[in-house]
Amino acid sequence: MNLELAAGNIYLDGWGLVFTPTTLLMIFVSVLIGMFVGAIPGLTANMSVAVLVPLTFTMDPAVAISVLAGIWMGALYGGTIPAVLINMPGTPADMMTTLDGYPMSRRGEAGRAIGIGVISSFTAGTFAVLILGMFGPALASVARNFGSAEYFAIAVLGLSVIAFVSGKSMSKGLAAALLGLLIGIVGRDIMSGQPRLTFGEPQLLGGFEFIAIVVGIFGLSEVLEQIFKRQHTLAPKPQRIKNVLSAFKDVWPLRWVLARSSVIGTVIGVAPGAGPTIASIISYGTQKQLSKNPDQMGKGAPEGIAASDSANNAASGGAMLTMLSLGIPGDALTAILLGALVVHGVQPGPLLFDNEPTLVSAIFISLLLANVGLLLIGLFGARYLARVLDVPKPLLYSVIALACIIGTFAVRGSAFDVMVMLAFAALGFVFSRLDIPKAPLVLAVILGPILEENLRRMLQLNDGDPLAAGQTLVTSPIAAPILLLVLVLFCLPVVRSMRQRSKAKKAALAAASESPAPATAKEQ
């Protein structure tokens, strides 16, 4: 594999595709749209991308993925604005930003806090994209030698990690993943062509339309959830935004925080299953441990905002690395992007770097430009973006619901898909009520067919012998450690719970032996 050639391609080839007035405008507009949606509390980055996917179907694949990635990055940054101004994260990934952003805003430093958020998002986002450019071709080159065993193991890891980290209960995360696998197998069997779980419905022979699933789960169900929780009645008065550019003075003192959080975010983004929310939490936690003034964190420390905002944006680039190089989505959002690419006739994976180097390069360049757009719009447009908080919610939610319904219809011009979307919206709402995470389901819908295809191919290669297939798995230098990691992941909560119980028992015994025995009636 000629890595230099691949690297050269990725930096240069796509300029012709991206550097047109229309594409540049599309990228900047998409970042702006993402920021607006992200700035509305309750509307997540997943939702904004899912709802807007159908609008990209007539675009060139490179432009489409750039637009969607622009919306994604814009939404992640946009979430910083309400986090700072009204103490409500626009997206879950901005949860940690509220801790220091809001106290700064209360001190009259809202502009500085938002400026730090923009600069951190830009720095980390650019870093992660450069990592994608550097390691994407190399990872794809390694992945080119992957067989069924390796792909099977990576898919299992992705499902396990997301089931483990995306909710309070691992069993519910696993249940969501199993439901996703079940939904993913509806339709004709990939090998025999036999219909499975279609119940005689011809429209299900091709399976559920993926876009209908994600729009239902992340789009319409979120609208229902917001209304159910009466979020539309909240009318918080945000603080005024001034002196956003003053944040540049903070960049040098925060350089190590930015560097560390960018690395943490990228690494967590690369790991299949984790995502920007986890990246932001871990980065904030790490910063608190390493900070010279840990007591100040949570009370308006700029390093808290830098740690949180840089990690969540870096995670997006990291997740793109896994998605483009391996064809395995790193989180729910890259699963949506992967689904959108497939609709465009592009199959992410190692061969993408060989077959469509110009497209990969265009995606890489667009991501860099999206980060530049994020910096410019974020710095100079923050005070106008904040006005989105004044938009009457009843009107806003009616438009979002319409976008979900019409967008789903537009995919194939099918009213059946709209009904499927409605059913998944209901399922998403039920999931929220039962504390079942949604991300494992969406990821499993994409990973299910990969898992099944590679499992059965592995069995075929071993003459249908499950033991021999198992041997292939445990002797593979890549699949074996990955599966071991999966095993550790499942054992970890059990071990931790046993240790906690034993600690609690010891503490109870110690407390009982230290406290004086209660006086009995006889003694009295």
């Binding site: 159908p54 609008l55 007539t58 949860m95 940690m96 801790l99 483990f164 980290v165 995306s166 909710g167 309070k168 209960s169 691992m170 069993s171 519910k172 249940a175 199993l178 696998l181 079940l182 197998i185 069997d189 025999s192 036999q194 499975r196 779980l197 319409l220 609208v223 209304i227 159910f228 929780k229 009466r230 986890i278 939490i281 936690g285 608190k288 009843p394 009107l395 939610y397 009616s398 438009v399 619901a401 319409l402 319904i405 019409i406 967008g407 219809f409 537009a410 011009g413 009213a415 709209v418 409605l422 919206a425 709402f429 504390d435 499992l455 059965r456 069995l459 075929q460 249908g464 909560p493």
Partner: protein, 177 residues
């Protein structure tokens, strides 16, 4: 907390039933095929998995109900070893919910989905925007009504132009415009 645990038991039972349903749905497929070419291999594995995980969820819920033990679900946040500061958790007060409004919105959405592509896209879309905005508390003053009607026309035109004109999606022939 108790309600959550009852919900967990019910969720577990529902999952196990779904697993059973999956096994029933593929029961007609032969069992004697080699696994590599067996289309029922994966559905059966998922069915058994759902039954197993359903039983685990139900058992954990039932155990927590009986013993009053604290489980991971009683805690806030994600199950990773990162301390979530108390200030953040303190923000989560008593949740205010409105079932009636959620059901009303669901009904409006369902009616719109059933009629928009059968009765008339433009008419039903404009009506949908007005109905949902009023349902969600848009101000009911003469000025509010006028602005809402204008808004609904603009939104309907924007969606029609964006999706059916620019993207070229074919709209079915209907009775009303």
């Amino acid at each position: 907390m108790t309600l959550t645990r009852y919900r967990n038991v019910a969720t577990g039972v529902a999952l196990a039933l779904l697993g059973g349903g999956t096994l029933w749905a593929v029961a007609a497929m032969p069992w004697d095929r080699p696994p590599a070419i067996d289309p029922a291999l994966f559905p059966r594995a998922i069915g058994f998995g759902l039954i197993l995980i359903g039983l685990v969820v139900a058992a954990l819920g039932a155990y927590a109900l009986r013993s009053g033990a604290t489980t991971a679900e009683d805690a806030e946040g994600v199950p990773i070893d990162v301390e979530i500061p108390e200030e953040l958790l303190a923000e989560h007060g008593e949740e205010q919910t409105d079932w009636k409004l959620a059901l009303g919105l669901s009904a409006a959405i369902a009616i719109y989905c059933l009629t928009a592509f059968q009765v008339g896209f433009l008419t039903m879309t404009a009506l949908f925007v007005i109905a949902v905005a009023l349902l969600l508390g848009h101000r009911r003053t003469p000025r509010g009504y006028i602005s809402l009607v204008i808004f609904s026309f603009i939104v309907t035109a924007a969606f029609y132009f964006g999706f059916f004109y620019l993207l070229g999606v074919r709209l079915p022939r209907t009775l009303l415009p």
